[in-house]
Amino acid sequence: MISELGHFALCLAFAVSLFQVVVPLVGASRGWSDWMGAAAPAALAQFLLVGLSFAALTHAFVTSDFSVRIVADNSNSLMPMLFKVTGTWGNHEGSMLLWVLILSIFGAMVAAFGRNLPLGLKARALSVQAMIGGAFFAFILFTSNPFDRLDPAPVDGRDLNPLLQDIGLAIHPPFLYLGYVGLSMAFSFAVAALIEGRVDAAWARWVRPWTLAAWVALTIGIMLGSYWAYYELGWGGWWFWDPVENASFMPWLVAGALLHSAIVVEKRSALKAWTILLAILAFSLSLIGTFLVRSGVITSVHAFANDPERGVFILAIIAVTIIGSLALFAMRAPAMRADGMFRPVSREGGLVLNNLLFATSAAVVFTGTVAPLVREFMDGAKISVGAPFFDLAFTPFMVVALVALPVGAMLPWKRADLGAVLARLWWAGAGALAIGGVVWGLQTGTALLAPVGLALAAWVILGVLAELVERGGFKRAGLAGGLRRLGALPRADWGKLIAHAGMGLTVMGIAAITAWEAEDIRLASPGDVIPISGYDIRFDGVSQGEGPNFVFQRGHFTVTRNGAPVAVLEPEKRVYPVQGMPTTEAAIDTGFTRDLYVVLGDPQTDGQAWAVRSYVKPLAVWIWLGALIMGLGGIVSLTDRRYRVGAASRRGPAAPVAAE
């Protein structure tokens, strides 16, 4: 009964979305304020209805109602409650419902908090938002109904894919969807601005927080996915350039560019058309990301739904969205005049360089991801594009971006004296070169990866410090005065500093783990000691046991360093009998300087020896901590007073904001 109500609420939400497409749009073009005003209540109603529908589905999962098909397929009565709840979106239908739920939450937020938005812009943006929603409601209702019943209902469910029974992966999709769908807000505002034909600083001020929020969510979502791969897939890889990873990485790159270009629109009223284009591209790539995951076109490690019929439906949605918005862009963009003038060497110029590099690297990832498809379609040739390609084709652009970052971040607006900025950065540069030199001297080989990577990381982090010193004006204001000045910096500036430092830390982790990881693969019998990078890992044996819905074999390892105990590591091999599926649970001792990582392999036929893989991964944790810090920077920036709801209307004209 509750499931039928959920289905019905979803149908109603579809109807409301159609209303929300037409009425506000007509109202906005005719200037009828009551028609425009219908957008906000419609968006709220849509949110309530989708919320009800999602609650109904969650209820079915929580109560293990196996008469609902996707519950029977993806849940099990023995599963821990946490995974019953997260199982709601651990399947195709449920994840699409989560997608539209988040979409409707964003719409409702605009409706509720957008009181100071111009009525016409708000009506049009919500109408565009409802077009996206309507398309996905139709997709769910016609091809992927989550409330399908089974008759007779099975006694028990077939269990959730064991790989998804993990807290990291359970909360990974909601974050990614927050990111993808958050970019729909930037898209809706961009299309609304194109319809209206006006883009100004106020528009940018509205778009930026949505983009920022989406970017933060994507950053955290990608980080979670990467960390999950690191500890769950069993060999400590953290990025595979897998199509599904690329699908989330492309919107992240473009959203990163969009964040930076929106600053130029807001502060200097330039790059308007380009910013609109980025907003369209960012969301288009999010849709393509959905397409890559949902259709069977590119199957990959994490694609858990393969169905070409649905793929065609989503392909149609994507084609209409992209072609429609780009056509609108082509018609309206030439009319957008930029007012702000600037020289190539200026903050604006630095942000343009950032945009070029991010957009180019997104293009590289895109061609790399679709090249096998395109080649197969064009001449039937089968090619593979994997990590070695991306490492070579993508990295150079990021290296240039990192070299330019500290300089661009300190350039003044409009026109800048490059020499003066470099003079203030000299000690950061010297420090980075020194670190690179020391690393080069310490290592035995001639590989450039570690020295260059760590020097780059140091350059970015020291650059942030140099900027702090500069902004504090410690030379004139003294220590106390300088700190006071730093405390008074706008939150957006702090956000920028934190995010850039996070980027530097991630690069540090990547360089260290790639260059210095130590690996040992061997057959070990209980009592054997594995020496690796100064640690001694003693194999104490294997025990067996049973979890709530799995059985496991657990290896016991004691790690010592110069005889002093360091950690006890207990990697597991699990088998989930319902799906007959084994998983590997690596044991990791996480530290700020290194991770110790042990995986238990297969037993040998003699029953004594086991295949054991041990790793020491230097600075590994910084890859994800850095990403978290980047996200934190975004959140700090979001709390800047000029984005606060109603800030502009309450306080009158915004207080002059220091240059970012």
Binding site: W235, S384, K573, G601
Partner: protein, 152 residues
Amino acid sequence: MRRALLLTLALMIATPAAAVQPDEMLADPALETRAREISKELRCLVCQNESIDDSNAELARDLRLLVRERLTEGDSDAEVLDYLVDRYGEFVLLKPRFSIANALLWLTGPLAFIAGLAVFATYLARRKPRAAEREAPLSPEEKAELEKIVGS
């Protein structure tokens, strides 16, 4: 059908990730290091974009052994790769070779970057005269018009 597919897929990912097995490894550490590096460039043909170094599939194991066999026979790294491409086609390479057909793949990055720079340069160049125009002194007719408006 879909169920079966899912299950195969699931089994494929989930097989414990003991990719390189201890018994496959070569005694000579230098040779083994080369084998690992080469393995990272080669695709496990039955997997989704996984290298034979990462994959646990039977075929990946066969390929790993093949790579090591060629190396012990004295092949150079390039010869090993050529040998595998001859047998399995370019599909086996995770980094496609540069060719006319793959030109776009390899050149996207540099071309996009150069094109972007060019667009930006023209944008800046075109903006200058327009700004100069804006600041240009008024023509006599405009002056007369201004006089009329201000004067009246």
